[in-house]
């Protein structure tokens, strides 16, 4: 075999030795270059001794409304860092620092050990230090070796309390969040979205941190930024453009504030775009992004009205009479009633089983057909319709209409609400612990049935748009730092199980509510535009009833659907409907200059 021949071996040996010599020569030349030719440069670098890496926080992306109004931005603030190498005794230094910052020395010591990345890597001790404190440290720089300040962006919510539930807030990443961060994108102390859009769109809003190289001397003294090594610029987070209409949101939120607590949600029935999402009481999101004063924090957390809680998606209420539309639809779809079906006349009360049930109007409504019963919101009519349907048909219809399911809005923490069924009652009261007359209360939207204001807005939008159920969305597009646009497309998640003819019947009723002489929400009527709506009063075992009004307009091809709930305010027609009307007026003034929306009937 050739391979084993001594001559071949000899050649291979020579090739090997030559190749290795070449490699070594290359290394020697490189070493020569580094140590003798450009040795001076390195020597200088070594004397000034080298580089320390300081991260530069990326500003988070802006959040804007559909007209370009900036709703969430950033402001510069001072962050305080410490380089452990320069500190002789960390414990006594922590005590000194804590004294100036008016904090617990233990807390400062913790931040040092948690942020430790080596003796030369600066540790962030505190964000958003006020200017006075910065001055104090700078004046006493000799007493505080190793302390430095860096300007970093801090989240700013310039609208103060308004809209706070929509964007939520940001805060420093917790240990658990760091643990879950499989892709290693966060370091301790990094800011992350904790609630609302800030959390939902975190990956787009956060941006990418940069870094800069700071030279320090052999003694550890800082000399400033390295000149021959360019800093890596941080990449600003993507901009989030919302479907929200800030003017409408303002009206809704301010009107709600005047009335106490509650929620308003407005959607475009044509694509599920959210125009308003108001929840009152609200809170100041700035509280969480900067320095949180103990008192302010306690005030928010101990408030019995729970201002941090977004009622639009987390608040569950009985829908009250607004449910009658769906009880009616279930009856129509199951051929239990037709448009002009009547039941026993309303005499103000009626007995089911051995219990009397009252109509809201003590004098009674007399004999009404389906449309009339919707217009006048006659309880007795719907009690009888509900009993005819029975719990199973009613409950199945509700589930098919996506009651009791999340709408899929682009916000974290949405709740499902509840549609009770026979199984639910079996579980709750035992197999024989309840009667078929439980459906009586449910059919007018009281009892165990629970909805969120957002769900009701979505479902009324579907009543108006021919039955299409959209997943509502706050964001319309994301504009990246590079200018790329990511559009967030409307998403259809289902449809109402109601035929077009039956939808028309329901709409007749909805229109009557605002136009008929006995309609319960005539205050919400507009000139030249038909408004379809329904009032409701949700019984509240803990206090005064909640007032509801849900509507859409124009009746044909609606452009806006609004759900209003005012907590503990009594009747929907007198409290919630006027609020909805203010929004409608503003909406049509803003978007439909061709139509005159001014009220047809004076209040």
């Amino acid at each position: 075999m050739i391979a084993d021949s001594p001559e071949r071996r000899k050649t291979n040996y020579r090739i090997l030795i030559l190749a290795i010599l070449a490699f070594m020569l290359f290394i020697v030349v490189k070493l020569f270059g580094m140590q003798l030719f450009s040795g001076g440069v390195y020597k200088k670098a070594s004397e000034r001794n080298s580089v320390r890496i300081v991260p530069i926080s990326a500003p988070r992306g802006l959040i804007k409304d559909r007209d370009g109004t900036t709703l969430v931005k950033n402001r510069p603030s001072y962050s305080m860092y410490m380089v452990p190498y320069e500190v002789k005794n960390l414990d006594s230094m922590s005590i000194k620092i804590a004294e100036v910052l008016k904090e617990n020395p233990e807390e400062i010591r913790n931040r040092i050990s948690q942020g430790w990345k080596g003796r030369f890597q600066p540790i962030r001790l505190k964000r958003d230090v006020d200017f006075g404190t910065v001055c104090h440290f700078e004046e006493h720089a000799l007493d505080f070796p190793g302390i430095m300040f860096q300007v970093e962006p801090t989240r700013l919510y310039p609208q103060s309390n308004l809209g706070s539930h929509i964007w939520g807030y940001v805060g420093e990443a917790t240990a658990e969040e760091l643990e879950e961060d499989a892709e290693n994108r966060y370091a301790l102390g990094d800011i992350v979205g904790k609630e609302g859009l800030e959390k939902q769109y975190e990956e787009y809003l956060r941006g990418v941190n940069g870094l800069k190289y700071i030279e320090i001397t052999a003694a550890g003294k800082m000399l400033g930024e390295l000149t021959d090594k360019e800093r890596i610029k941080p990449v600003r987070g993507s901009e989030l453009v919302l479907e929200l209409d800030w003017e409408l949101q303002n009206i809704a939120e301010k009107e709600l504030l005047e009335r106490g607590s509650g929620a308003v949600v407005a959607l475009d029935p044509r694509d599920g775009a959210v125009r308003i999402m108001a929840s009152v009481p609200n809170f100041d999101a700035n509280l969480f992004s900067g320095v949180v004063s103990r008192e302010a924090w306690d005030a928010v957390m101990s408030d019995s009205l729970h201002p941090l809680y977004n009622r639009s998606i987390k608040g569950t209420y009985p829908p009250g009479s607004t449910m009658k539309l769906f009880t009616a639809a279930a009856g129509l779809e199951n051929d239990i009633v037709v448009e002009n079906s009547t039941f026993d006349p309303c005499l103000g009360a009626r007995r089911f089983g051995n219990r009397p049930f009252r109509c809201w109007r003590p004098g009674g409504h007399g004999k009404l057909d389906l449309v009339g019963a919707i217009i006048q919101s006659c309880d007795i009519y719907f009690y009888q319709l509900g009993v005819q349907e029975g719990l199973d048909i009613w409950s199945k219809f509700c589930k098919d209409s996506r009651f009791g399911m999340r709408t899929g809005i682009d916000l974290p923490g949405e709740v499902t609400g509840l549609v009770p069924s026979a199984r639910y009652f079996d579980k709750r009261y035992g197999k024989s612990g309840w009667t078929r007359y439980l459906v009586v209360n449910l059919s007018i939207g009281q009892g165990e049935l629970l909805v969120t204001p957002l769900q009701m807005a979505v479902l009324f939008a579907a009543l108006g748009n021919g039955g299409i159920i959209y997943s509502p969305r706050l964001a319309s597009r994301i504009i990246t730092y590079g200018g790329d646009i990511i559009k967030i497309e409307p998403e259809i998640v289902g449809s109402l199980p109601v035929s077009e003819e039956n939808l028309e019947i329901l709409k007749k009723g909805l229109l009557g509510v605002t136009t008929h002489e006995r309609g319960t929400a005539r205050v919400a009527a507009l000139k030249d535009i038909d408004v379809g709506g329904k009032t409701g009063t949700a019984q509240n075992p803990h206090g005064e009833d909640h007032a509801l009004f849900i509507c859409f307009a124009p009746l044909e091809n609606p452009e806006i659907a609004i759900a209003v709930i005012v907590e503990n305010a009594g009747h929907g027609g007198s409290v919630a409907a006027p609020l909805a009307k203010k929004i409608l007026l503003k909406y049509f003034e803003e978007y439909r200059a061709d139509i005159n929306p001014v009220k047809k009937i004076d209040i």
């Binding site: 391979a3 071949r8 291979n12 040996y13 290795i20 070594m24 450009s38």
Partner: protein
């Protein structure tokens, strides 16, 4: 002993080991942790163990190692599997034994060299038949894969260095060796369509001129075509952070926080050394502990900073001498098994020395391979002294068939 004992090889290795211990002492001198300060003493103990192993091998008849080479091989495979299994998927490279960490991948290098030498020395081949290459590839791949998942990319690359060296020593023409490693070249070229097109054209030329069998030729073409097409697809499926990891491995400057930081610091230390260095225990880089791994992977930068170009040159000459002796012994040995074993062991030394020094001066990616004889680490010390033992005894028995 006398004439048959290669004193120059032994002394060169001993000098490197002692210089290593001195440098470890310097690197840990300013450390505040007592464990770090004790490292040079620990390394001295390891040198003693290494010399013992060297002597043990030197005085054991070579034929025993030849006979047991496959046993060694399968034992070490079992050990690697146990290491993987006992840690329950948690990555680790070490067994803890007493107060010391044992790194089985170092022993695996020895076993692989012996087993492959044994196989290749006794193989029966027909002209033109290349199937023996795939047997060797299998020998190499199993431990390489087991080490790779530890994860220890550097050590698994060492196995492929052994593979290439053995093929070359077997007299396989360079063109064929290039063909065998061509899928790896294809993988690298596949990141741009143009570079890949050029590569593929050259491959076709190579297949044509090396006059392979049709089946062999089409095999290489198909494999390279497949690699070239799959790579971009796989790459696009990776997450950004995964891509980033690969990019920073190949180009540490892209990641100044991690590997890039070490390279910057190491280069400053090397450059600051100048002609004669800043002096023993001097040098700001070492003093200030800028390099977290300076007593292990970056020991050469400590040498460069404190003893300068002259110190580096001395160490390089010592390495060159050991390498020269290693290959000379491989050439001289009449027994095929001895010859291949000498070549394979020397190849490991060459590969690790060049990769490590290259990394220190910023020519090579950061792989975490120790510098032979000098980096802190017991298993590595023992392995290289075992290699010296084998080379010495092969030298003594070169006339044997």
């Amino acid at each position: 002993m006398g004439k048959t004992f290669d004193w120059s090889l032994f002394v060169a290795a001993l000098l490197l080991s002692i210089i290593g211990i001195v440098l470890i002492y310097a690197a840990s001198y300013y450390s505040l942790q007592p464990e770090t300060k004790a490292l040079s003493l620990k390394q001295l103990i390891w040198l003693g163990i290494g010399l013992g192993v060297c002597a043990g091998i030197y005085f054991t008849p070579l034929k025993i190692h030849e006979a047991f080479s496959f046993v060694y091989y399968f034992s070490i495979i079992v050990v690697l599997i146990i290491l993987l299994a006992t840690t329950g998927g948690v990555a680790t490279r070490w067994f803890r034994l007493g107060g010391f960490n044992i790194q089985p991948s170092e022993l695996a290098k020895l076993a692989v060299v012996l087993a492959v030498s044994r196989y290749i020395a006794f193989r029966k081949i027909k002209p033109g038949d290349l199937s023996w290459i795939f047997v060797i590839l299998l020998f190499i791949s199993v431990p390489a894969a087991l080490v790779l998942v530890q994860p220890d990319l550097g050590s698994s690359l060492v196995f492929f260095a052994i593979f290439i060296a053995m093929l070359f020593w077997s007299g396989l023409p360079l063109t064929k060796i290039i063909l065998i490693i061509s899928p790896i070249i294809s993988l690298i070229c596949a990141f741009h369509w143009f570079s890949w097109a050029v590569f593929f054209f050259l491959l076709l030329v190579l297949v044509f001129v090396s006059r392979l069998r049709i089946s062999q030729g089409s095999f290489f073409v198909t494999v390279n075509l497949a690699v070239g097409m799959i790579t971009p697809i796989m790459w696009n499926k990776l997450h950004d952070y995964q891509k980033m990891r690969i990019i920073t491995f190949l180009d540490p400057g892209q990641d100044p926080r991690g590997a890039g930081y070490q390279i910057i610091q190491s280069k400053i230390a090397v450059g600051a050394g100048g002609l004669f260095g800043q002096g023993f225990l001097q040098g700001t880089q070492t003093k200030l502990n800028f390099l977290p791994e300076q007593h292990t992977d970056f020991i050469f930068s400590v040498l460069a900073e404190q003893f300068g170009f002259v110190g580096c040159l001395i160490v390089l000459i010592l390495f060159a001498w050991i390498i020269y002796r290693g290959f000379a012994i491989a050439l001289k040995a009449r027994n095929q098994f001895y010859s291949y074993a000498a070549c394979g062991l020397t190849a490991v030394l060459v590969f690790q020395a060049i990769i490590n020094i290259g990394m220190t001066i910023g020519l090579m990616p950061v792989t975490g391979l120790p510098l032979p004889f000098m980096s802190y680490g017991g298993s590595s010390m023992v392995f290289f002294w075992a290699s010296i033992g084998l080379l010495l005894t092969i030298n003594r028995n070169w006339q044997e068939y």
